[in-house]
Each structure stands twice: as structure tokens, then as C-alpha cells.
Amino acid sequence: MENLSKEMFVIKGKNIEKMETISRPSLSFWQDAWRRFRKNKAAFAGMCILLAYILLAIFAPMLSKYGFSTMDATNQHAAPSLEHWFGTDATGRDQWVRTWMGARVSLSIGLFAATINMCVGAVIGGLCGYYGGKLDMIMMRIVDILYGIPSLIITILVMLVLGKGVAPLIVAMCVVGWIGTCRFVRGEVYRLKEQDFVMAAKVLGVSDFVIIIKHIIPNIVGMLVTNLCLAIPGAIFQEAFLSYIGLGIAPPRCSWGILAKEGIAYLRVHPHEVAIPAAVICTTMLALNLLGDGLRDAVDPKLRGTE
């Protein structure tokens, strides 16, 4: 310490800029979310599997020489081969085509039912939460009562009234399916509108419409997308379940639930007939769950800026 010369002891004053330069680059919410989503390998893999299945569902039945309901009495219960990639079922129908025809039904039911539920729930919940008042109180009483009824019971009853089919299934799932989202969105909107940034916008005279578009929606859309992603497997589950107990799709149309049900009947002798639809259902569920979890982590504001 002997080498401290006098020149070093000249007062220079503070240098604020020097220490303010270390801040991180700023990212918008979606950039940040996307950056974190991409890093999540499991979620990314889930997305890839899902895209592959969607493409197969669209193109596989078109490109195959077999029809999904063409029976072949000479070739029943065939094992997977070059001729029939997934084998054939009890009436000699090609399982490859049936699996992807089933995918069309199952995936679209999952997507439509979940999306409709989300939209209806978000609109009703959002309006109730934002405007509050009497309407909100009455709606919430109704919603609370309906929420207590197991949704599957209602779905089954509606299916009894409407009969089997894809459209009745979607309708039946949507009769009470929106209630969960409605409660969630109402709660979120209610919480958000009390927050200071919304108050600030109100004080500045911003119209309700702009507040909803600019302040409320961006804050819940991430969670909504995540919920949607996690609701789709639920809907696919329900379709498979209903088809399994005989309330879903009417034959000869098929869905994954029906394929699994038909396969289970021959479990002892032809296990591949259940193994293939089971594998497809499970991987789809897995993909959607991973994707949903990944999205949830990606849009979670608490995790912003972390690695």
C-alpha cells in the first residue's frame, strides 16, 4: 500500500452512469415467454409430437388406399405388416387409416370443446368481473350452483337427449364446461381491475374498451392459453370415456375411445389392437400436458427474467 501516490487522492465525485450500465437487455413479455418456452425441451417436444399427429390426421387417411370403413372378411385381426401398418381389426378394417380418422374426431372434439368453453367462459367471466354489480351477483350465484353439479353427469344427460355424434358431443361438453373458465377469468379480472395500473388508466380517462383491450386482456391471455392447452386433454379424455361407455360417436365413424374399446375386447388374443390406440392416446395426452406445463411456466409472471 506504499505505492498510493498523491495523484490518486484527488476527489473526482460520483459516477452514476458507470454502475447503471450493467442492467440486462429488456425483453417484451412475449419475447421473454418465447425465450423460456424454447429452452424447455419437454414442452418443445410436446409441440412437435402434436404437430406430427395433426399432420397425420389430415393426410394419412387421404394417402392410404384403404377406406376407414372398408371391411375385408378375408383379413381379420391381421398383425401390423407392410400391407397394413397398424394391422386390421375384427372386421378387417385397416387400423392405420382408422387411427388417423379417429385422430380427426378426437383432436377436433378436444380442440373445439375446449376452445368454445374457453371463449364463452372468458367473455361471461370477463364481463361479470369487470362490470360487477347485480348482473355479476346473479350470474355468480347461478355459476356456483351449476359448478356443484359434476359436469360429466350433465354431459351424459345431454348426450341422452341429443343422441350420438360429434356435434352432440361438443354441445354436451359445452353446456357446463365453460363454468370453470368463467370463475377463473372473473376472479382474475376482478383482481386486475383493482390494481393500480388499471386505476391509473381510469384516472387518465381511458375508456373501458381500451382498458380491457390494453390492460386486462394482455394480463390474462397467457394463462388462458395455458388453461386451453390443459383443457384439451381433458376433453379428449372425456370423449374417449363417453365413447368407451357407448355414449360417444356412432359407428361406423370412429374415435380413439372407440378404437381402444374395440381393442380391449380382444386384449387376450390380439394385444396390438389396444396397444396402438392406447399409445397414440397416451402420447397425445403427454404432449399436451408437457406443452401446457411449458406454457404455464413460460407465461408465469413470477418467473419472468429467470433462467
Binding site: 356456483d144 350452483i145 351449476l146 356443484g148 353439479i149 359434476p150 360429466l152 353427469i153 350433465i154 351424459i156 344427460l157 345431454v158 341422452l160 337427449v161 343422441g163 386433454p233 379424455f237 374417449a240 370415456f241 368407451y244 361407455i245 357407448g246 355414449l247 381402444a260 374399446k261 381393442g263 380391449i264 386384449l267 387376450r268 394385444p271 389396444v274 392406447a278 392416446i281 397416451c282 402420447t283 395426452m285 403427454l286 400436458n289 408437457l290
Partner: protein, 306 residues
């Protein structure tokens, strides 16, 4: 606490009323066919007229129907003239209840254990294993789980009985198949909740008191972390119950679920309606019990402040 219970009971009664009313009007909306099917025997038609009171005005029908339910009469079968829904429930529900309770106990106990273990050993192989089990568990529908277990343990390796329900060894496969999904979701929620609680200030307070790790985990962490799990118990009971539909038909268990699926396939409408209504009432009641239990467990709910 009394206030809370009364509130929940009133809500449950309203829900039940909504449910039965919805069912009533849905029946009236049904396409004519199932009830005017020419194949029906005169005996069935007589039963039906008596039970539903189709010949009277709508409002009378409604109260007649409510009266039936209040007497605990869920209707009759269109297929088998000599059987009533109550008779079938009496015959089959004990099996379903037995299976359901076994599955619930299995799912909740193992789910909690896995969740706690994963959170305590965060970032280790044990944690990884628990997380994998949870993800796989929530990705396999119960009928597929049932088929898989039946194929491997019953048929291929012959370790356990394939079907029927005659003793403890018969219950293992169906109960496991039924429990797996719930087990996975319970463990997931418990893990997340445990991790959340670990960062709470009161855990630090507990440590500053010089308590042992074991006591902190049990009295402070688990006690608080279990709350979110309690909130999903209602839906869990429902999912286990509906799971019995398929599990019972796969394992040929003479329970209510198997009978339900048969009724669906036989187009036995009045039977389906009666049983659905019974399920609905059962679940609403189960939810009520769960709600009250939740109140007992969480003092904040009990007092009414949250």
C-alpha cells in the same frame, strides 16, 4: 364454523334442486322414441306412466317427480320389468363403493407420499422419478391403464386374477388402475404446494425456534401444503367414481358402473336416468362433505375470512 356449515349445506341443497330440475326437463326434451317404443311391454308402459305421470299436467308431473325422489325412488328398468333402479343400486353399489374407497385411499396416501418425497428431495433422482410418474400418470386414461395392468399382471405374467371381485387379491389391479390418474395429480399438486410452502416466512420462523427438521416438515410444511390438495378432493371423488364405469367393465366387477355401461348399451333409458341422478346426488353430497372437511382443516375458511 356453524355459519360456514349452514352456508355449504344450503348451497348443496340448491345445487341438488338445480340438478333434479335439469334432469326433469331434459327427460321431457328427449326424443319421443325411447319412451314410446312399440317394443315396450304393457307392464313397462304402466310403470312408466305411474313413475313419470305422463298423463298429468307438467307442473303436477314435476312435483310428482320430486316426491318420488324424496322417497328415494329412482325409477325402474325398461328392459327388465321386475327390476327397479333402487334394487340395482342396492345390489351393485357396495362393490363400486368398496373399489372406489380402496382406490381413493391408495391414490391419496401414495400421491401425498410421492409429492412430499419429491419436494423434500428436490432436484435429486427421487424427485425426477416422482415427476415422471406424475406426468405419465396424468397422461394415461384409466381404461387404458386398466387394460395394461390386466394384460401384463393378469394375462401375461399371471400374477393376479384377471377379472371378478372375490377377494383381496382381486381388488389390487382394478384399484390400482382406478387410482393411478388421481395419484398422479395429487402428487403433482402436493409437490408444487410443498415447494411453495418451503419459501414461506413462517417456515423460517419455525427454524428459528430450533425445531427439528422432522417437526418442521410435519407440523408446518405438510399441514399447510395439504390445503390445495383438499380443494381438489371433490373433483377427485367424481373422477374416481366415473372411473369405476370403465374399470368395472374391464375387470368384470359386478358393480354399478358395469351395470351403467350395460344399460347404455341396452338403451335402457329410465335406468340410465335413475342411475345418473343417483350419481349426481351422491357426488353433490360428497362435495359437501369435502367442503366441510376443508373448513375443519383450514381455520381461515372456518372463520369466514380468507
Amino acid at each position: 364454523m356453524t355459519k360456514y356449515v349452514i352456508k355449504r349445506v344450503i348451497a348443496a341443497i340448491l345445487t341438488l334442486w338445480a340438478l333434479v330440475t335439469i334432469v326433469f326437463f331434459l327427460v321431457r326434451l328427449m326424443p319421443g322414441e325411447p319412451f314410446t317404443n312399440p317394443k315396450l311391454t304393457p307392464q313397462v308402459i304402466e310403470n312408466m306412466t305411474k313413475y313419470y305421470g305422463f298423463d298429468k299436467p307438467l307442473i303436477v308431473q314435476y312435483f310428482h317427480y320430486l316426491g318420488n325422489l324424496l322417497h328415494g325412488d329412482f325409477g325402474f328398468s325398461m328392459k327388465y320389468t321386475n327390476k327397479t333402479v333402487n334394487y340395482i343400486i342396492g345390489q351393485t353399489f357396495p362393490f363400486s363403493a368398496d373399489l372406489g374407497i380402496r382406490a381413493l385411499c391408495l391414490a391419496i396416501s401414495f400421491g401425498l407420499i410421492l409429492g412430499i418425497l419429491a419436494a423434500r428431495k428436490r432436484g435429486t433422482k427421487i424427485d425426477f422419478f416422482c415427476v415422471i410418474v406424475a406426468i405419465i400418470g396424468t397422461s394415461i386414461p384409466d381404461f387404458i391403464m386398466g387394460a395394461l395392468l390386466q394384460y401384463f399382471f393378469g394375462i401375461k405374467w399371471g400374477l393376479l386374477p384377471v377379472a371378478q371381485y372375490k377377494g383381496i387379491e382381486y381388488t389390487i389391479l382394478p384399484a390400482t388402475a382406478l387410482a393411478f390418474y388421481t395419484l398422479a395429480s395429487v402428487s403433482r399438486i402436493m409437490r408444487a404446494s410443498m415447494l411453495e410452502v418451503t419459501t414461506q416466512d413462517y417456515i423460517k420462523t419455525a427454524r428459528s425456534k430450533g425445531l427439528t427438521e422432522a417437526r418442521i416438515t410435519v407440523r408446518h410444511q405438510i399441514r399447510n401444503a395439504i390445503m390445495p390438495v383438499m380443494t381438489i378432493l371433490g373433483p377427485t371423488v367424481a373422477s374416481v367414481l366415473t372411473g369405476t364405469f370403465v374399470i368395472e367393465s374391464i375387470f368384470a366387477i359386478p358393480g354399478m358402473g358395469k351395470y351403467y355401461v350395460e344399460s347404455v348399451n341396452n338403451n335402457d333409458y329410465s335406468m340410465i336416468l335413475g342411475m345418473t341422478l343417483f350419481y349426481g346426488i351422491f357426488l353433490v353430497t360428497a362435495n359437501l362433505i369435502v367442503d366441510i372437511l376443508y373448513g375443519v382443516a383450514d381455520p381461515r375458511v372456518r372463520i369466514g375470512k380468507r
